[in-house]
Structures are given as structure tokens and as C-alpha cells.
């Protein structure tokens, strides 16, 4: 199966079981949301999937390749990309440079920028980065250092980097946190557009309106246990989910 497969994943920190035998698939061209109350194990799962943590048991498959023990950079080279709950930008670099670095794996040759003209050498990547910046309406900020951007604009730099990377599987950890409702809506539209490119998207999010509007599948975690999975309609009416989570967020 292409996309992302999580198989019987368990993880504990000390005596606390953070994930317990969690299994689900994230299919290409589909948007799967992972929801649950704080401390449910969502971010731990994202960290294990992207290789920042190792699970105690279980397997991670990426486009039919077992990547369970693979370091993060190798998973990225195989097409896995992610964004972070807290902004993780390349400070000291411009928006354009951040965007181009997203496609690091496609970069070749000695110099990225021409030392004399300062133009980015890789024309294809340069064009992809330009298009990505346009898609997220930050092309006018291309030459600004990311440190000088306001939160809203800075929040769009990570998605731009993702677009330049051209992933097959994308994990997004709370991308709507801190966004206004209109910005969150735009983000949702952008994510739906990404699914048309056959990208498998795993969205970790607390904004239930956004999740219910754009998801194809929803997986619910509570105290490290997978308590439900299904379509938004099924999840909305699932009593276990209402008791554990939706009851609070509504």
C-alpha cells in the first residue's frame, strides 16, 4: 500500500503508556485527521512517524518501505515531510531561501546561489518555490528574513517549504493553531488542493470545524488508545468520541 501505514505502534515514557497498539493507514490523495484531547499521544505519534522518536514496538511503512528504524533525514528523502506545532523556521535566512531549502533533496551541484549574481542556481526548484510562495500569498515577502515576519506570515513559510519538498506523505502538527478563522479556512482549502496531487496527509488538529470540514477519515486517540476511526459523520456521532473529546470541544 502506498502512503503511510502505522502498525501496532506502542510507546511509553517511564511508566506512562503514551501509545498502545495503534494501527491505521493514511492513503494517498486522502486527508486523515488525528484528533484527541491533550496528552492523547498525537504529537508523540507524529514524532515517531517522522523519526524523531523510536517506538517501543510496532512498524511504520512509507510507500511500502519499512522505515521504522530509519533516521528522519532518510524518511524525508523518501518523501515524508512534516510541519511543527511550534514554528520551526530557518532563522537568519530569507523566505525564498527557506522555500528553496524545502527542496534540499533535489538540490545538486556545488553552489546553490551563484556567488556572483546571488541567483539560485537550480531553475526548476526556484520556479517551484516561487509558485509555492504565490500559492500561500507570501511572494511579496520573498527577500525578507523570516525573523522579521509577523506570526501569520511566518506560519505560511512552513507550508511553502512543504510544497517545494513535493512530498508523497505529509504530517501536519496543529497548523491552524493561532490562525484566524478565515486563515484557517484558507489553510483547509489549500490542504484539500494538496490531496488532488495524490499526497497522503495526516493532519493533527484541535480545530474541530476545520477537521470535520476537510477530512476524508478521522482517527481518534485517547490516553494512547485508538478509540475510533471513520468518516467525519461517523466520528461526530460516536459516543465514545463524544465522551472523550468532542463533548469538550463543542
Amino acid at each position: 500500500m502506498n502512503g503511510l501505514r502505522i502498525e501496532n505502534l506502542s510507546k511509553s515514557f517511564g511508566g506512562v503508556q503514551v501509545l498502545n497498539d495503534v494501527s491505521f493507514d493514511v492513503l494517498p490523495g486522502k486527508l486523515t485527521s488525528l484528533i484527541g484531547p491533550n496528552g492523547a499521544g498525537k504529537s508523540t505519534l507524529a514524532n515517531i512517524v517522522s523519526g524523531f522518536l523510536n517506538g517501543d514496538s510496532g512498524e511504520i511503512w512509507l510507500d511500502e518501505v519499512r522505515v521504522t528504524k530509519m533516521p528522519t533525514y532518510k524518511r524525508a528523502r523518501r518523501g515524508l515531510s512534516r510541519t511543527f506545532q511550534n514554528l520551526e523556521l530557518f532563522k537568519g535566512l530569507t523566505v525564498r531561501e527557506n522555500a528553496v531549502l524545502g527542496g534540499f533533496t533535489k538540490l545538486s551541484g556545488l553552489a546553490i546561489r551563484n556567488p556572483l549574481t546571488s541567483k539560485i542556481n537550480n531553475q526548476t526548484l526556484s520556479t517551484i518555490a516561487e509558485q509555492a510562495m504565490q500559492d500561500l500569498s507570501i511572494s511579496n515577502l520573498a527577500e525578507q528574513h523570516v525573523d522579521s515576519l509577523g506570526f501569520g506570515n511566518a506560519k505560511n513559510v512552513e507550508p511553502v517549504r512543504v510544497l517545494t519538498a513535493g512530498p508523497t506523505v505529509l504530517v501536519m502538527d496543529e497548523p491552524a493553531a493561532g490562525l484566524s478563522s478565515s486563515d484557517a479556512k484558507n489553510l483547509g482549502l489549500w490542504l484539500r488542493e494538496l490531496t488532488k496531487k495524490n499526497i497522503a496527509i495526516l493532519l493533527i488538529e484541535h480545530n474541530m470545524n476545520l477537521v470535520m470540514d476537510i477530512s476524508d477519515h478521522i482517527v481518534v486517540l485517547d490516553h494512547g488508545e485508538l478509540i475510533a476511526k471513520g468518516s467525519p459523520q461517523e466520528i461526530r456521532t460516536n459516543q465514545k468520541v463524544i465522551d472523550a473529546y468532542l463533548g469538550q470541544s463543542r
Binding site: 524525508a76 530557518f90 534540499f104 519538498a165
Partner: protein
């Protein structure tokens, strides 16, 4: 421009002592250029730069005295050996982070000094080694202070050129990206360990080059000249200049040169003066002097532009009237 100034300076100075100090400045500058790669652009606090500096000096001397290799080859062999030694140290220590990495490099520096001081058969022990063969490159003898000085200036230029292209290469970008955000760097496919190891090796090679030049400049080397205290002094000087900036090493080397010149007769006061400058710098310019100079320069150019604009608009208004 810096190299042009450095090349012209000996025309104005005929004092051998002053030429010697300028040579010290050029060698310190090469050392700081190397340190700036791993600690400035790479963000890894390396306190072992003096190890490579010392190793480079000893390799340059020993390759001729023990193996009878022509002196000129020392300027190639010393950096190569230092790069290999940096890899040997870097493979375990670059897996550590922050202060732990700094402590491991500091430890290597202490061990190196002790080893050199206690191995009289190889290194001459505490008494050091005297350089008996003059440096010779393509038949040209570098025996007078001015010729050694010009050679050091040439290597300042080469070191800057290497750094310039390295920082603009995919490795340099990766290094800066990893410094800015390790998680993001990993997520875009950068092998952080490998990139930092490369930077550490390059940094060590440049320090080794500085060491070999130091040996032919002083014609006498002792373990005392490569103590870990000097490593800390170098890091402080670079921080005052501006970590990860092009002019940071120049400012840092200039500060060490100026203090050496002013406090020449009072050597004991030199570290005290550098320490006080460091404290003041951390208080008022925490990012070093480079950004201050840059902002002063940009505000000055802005003022000049504004003045030009004002004067041209007033002339055009007068013309219209």
C-alpha cells in the same frame, strides 16, 4: 579590500617587531576564519581549535625533521592531518550537543597539550622544538619576516575564498539550516551529523594551516603556545567580532592584535582586557560588533541618499521656478 590593505601595510612599516605583530594578526585571522565555520555558521561551541593549530605546527616541523619531507609540503600535509584528526574527534563528539560538545573538545585540547609536553622524544616536551629548516616553496626561501607575512596574507585570502564558496554551497546552506532549526533541517533531508562533521574537518584543516604558518613564523614551538586558554580567548574574540559573520574574524583578530600591541610590556593584563571587553560587549552588543558596524553603515548610507535626494529635489524646484 582587507587583503589589499594587509598587502600595502609593510610598505608603511619597516619595523621588524611591527611586521611580526602583523604576521600574528594574519595567523590569528586564519584561525578565526576556521573557527567561524564550525562555531559561527555551524553554531557548535568548539574549544578545541588550538588542538588543530598546535597539531598543524608540530606536523609541519616534524615532517621535515623526522621524515625529511620538503618544508613547503608542510602547508598541505598539516591541514590534511588536522582534517583527519578532526574527523577522529568529531565522529564521537559531534553526537553530543551544546556544552557537552564544548567540553569534549576542551578535553581533547587539554589531553593534546599534556601529551605534547610529556613526549620529549617526539615533540621536545616542555622545551619545544626549534625549526631548523627555512620554509621553501617552489625554490623560493621564506626567511625574512616580510616574505612570511606576505605568505600569511595570501593564505588569509585563500581561507576567506574557501569559506565564501563553502557557505554558499549546499553544504554551507545545510550547516546554517541545521544551526537555525535542527528539526526542520532533518525534515528537509539534511544529514546534520555528516554536514557538521564536514564543517569540523574544514575548520580543523584551516587551523592546521595556521599552525604550520605559525611554526615557520616563530621558528620555535612549545606546548605553552597551544594551551586551551588560547582556545577560549579565540572564541571570546570571535564572539566580540560577531559569530557567523564575514567580518567577525577580522574584528576579533584585530582586537587580539591591538591588545597584544598595547599590552605588549604588560602581558598579564592582556586576558584581563579581553575579558572586560567581552563582558562589555555581551552587555551592549550581544551579537558582536559586526551587526553594530553594519547598522551604522546602513544608516549612514541612508542619510547620504536622503541628503542627495533633498538637494536634487530642491534644485529641480528652483529650476521650475
Amino acid at each position: 579590500m582587507l587583503c589589499a590593505i594587509l598587502t600595502l601595510l609593510p610598505q608603511l612599516i619597516n619595523n621588524i617587531y611591527e611586521i611580526g605583530l602583523l604576521t600574528d594578526f594574519a595567523i590569528t585571522l586564519i584561525l578565526l576564519i576556521g573557527l567561524n565555520i564550525i562555531s559561527g555558521y555551524g553554531g557548535q561551541l568548539s574549544l578545541g581549535q588550538v588542538t588543530f593549530y598546535g597539531l598543524g605546527a608540530y606536523v609541519a616541523v616534524l615532517q621535515t625533521s623526522k621524515l625529511h619531507i620538503p618544508t613547503g609540503f608542510g602547508l598541505i600535509i598539516a591541514p590534511l592531518i588536522c582534517a583527519i584528526f578532526a574527523a577522529i574527534i568529531g565522529i564521537p563528539s559531534l553526537r553530543l550537543r551544546g556544552l557537552y560538545f564544548a567540553m569534549s573538545t576542551l578535553g581533547v585540547s587539554v589531553v593534546f597539550t599534556e601529551f605534547v609536553a610529556n613526549s620529549p622524544r617526539i615533540s621536545g616536551g616542555e622545551n619545544g622544538l626549534t625549526v631548523t629548516n627555512q620554509l621553501q616553496i617552489f625554490g623560493h626561501m621564506f626567511f625574512d619576516p616580510k616574505s612570511i607575512y606576505y605568505l600569511c596574507v595570501l593564505f588569509v585570502f585563500i581561507s576567506y575564498l574557501i569559506t565564501y564558496f563553502y557557505i554558499r554551497s549546499r553544504w554551507g546552506w545545510s550547516l546554517r539550516a541545521a544551526e537555525a532549526s535542527e528539526p526542520s533541517a532533518a525534515v528537509v533531508g539534511i544529514n546534520i551529523f555528516y554536514i557538521r562533521l564536514g564543517a569540523f574537518m574544514l575548520s580543523g584543516a584551516i587551523a592546521g594551516l595556521a599552525g604550520s604558518l605559525e611554526a615557520y613564523h616563530q621558528l620555535y614551538i612549545t606546548p605553552e603556545g597551544f594551551s586551551f586558554a588560547y582556545s577560549i580567548l579565540l572564541f571570546v574574540a570571535l564572539t566580540i567580532g560577531g559569530l557567523g559573520t564575514a567580518s567577525g574574524p577580522v574584528i576579533g583578530a584585530f582586537i587580539l592584535y591591538a591588545f597584544k600591541r598595547w599590552f605588549g610590556p604588560f602581558v598579564a593584563f592582556e586576558p584581563l582586557a579581553v575579558g572586560l571587553t567581552f563582558i562589555l560587549c555581551l552587555r551592549y552588543f550581544p551579537k558582536g560588533i559586526d551587526p553594530v558596524i553594519r547598522s551604522l553603515f546602513s544608516s549612514l548610507t541612508l542619510r547620504i541618499r536622503k541628503k542627495k535626494l533633498d538637494s536634487s529635489s530642491s534644485t529641480s524646484l528652483e529650476g521650475a521656478q
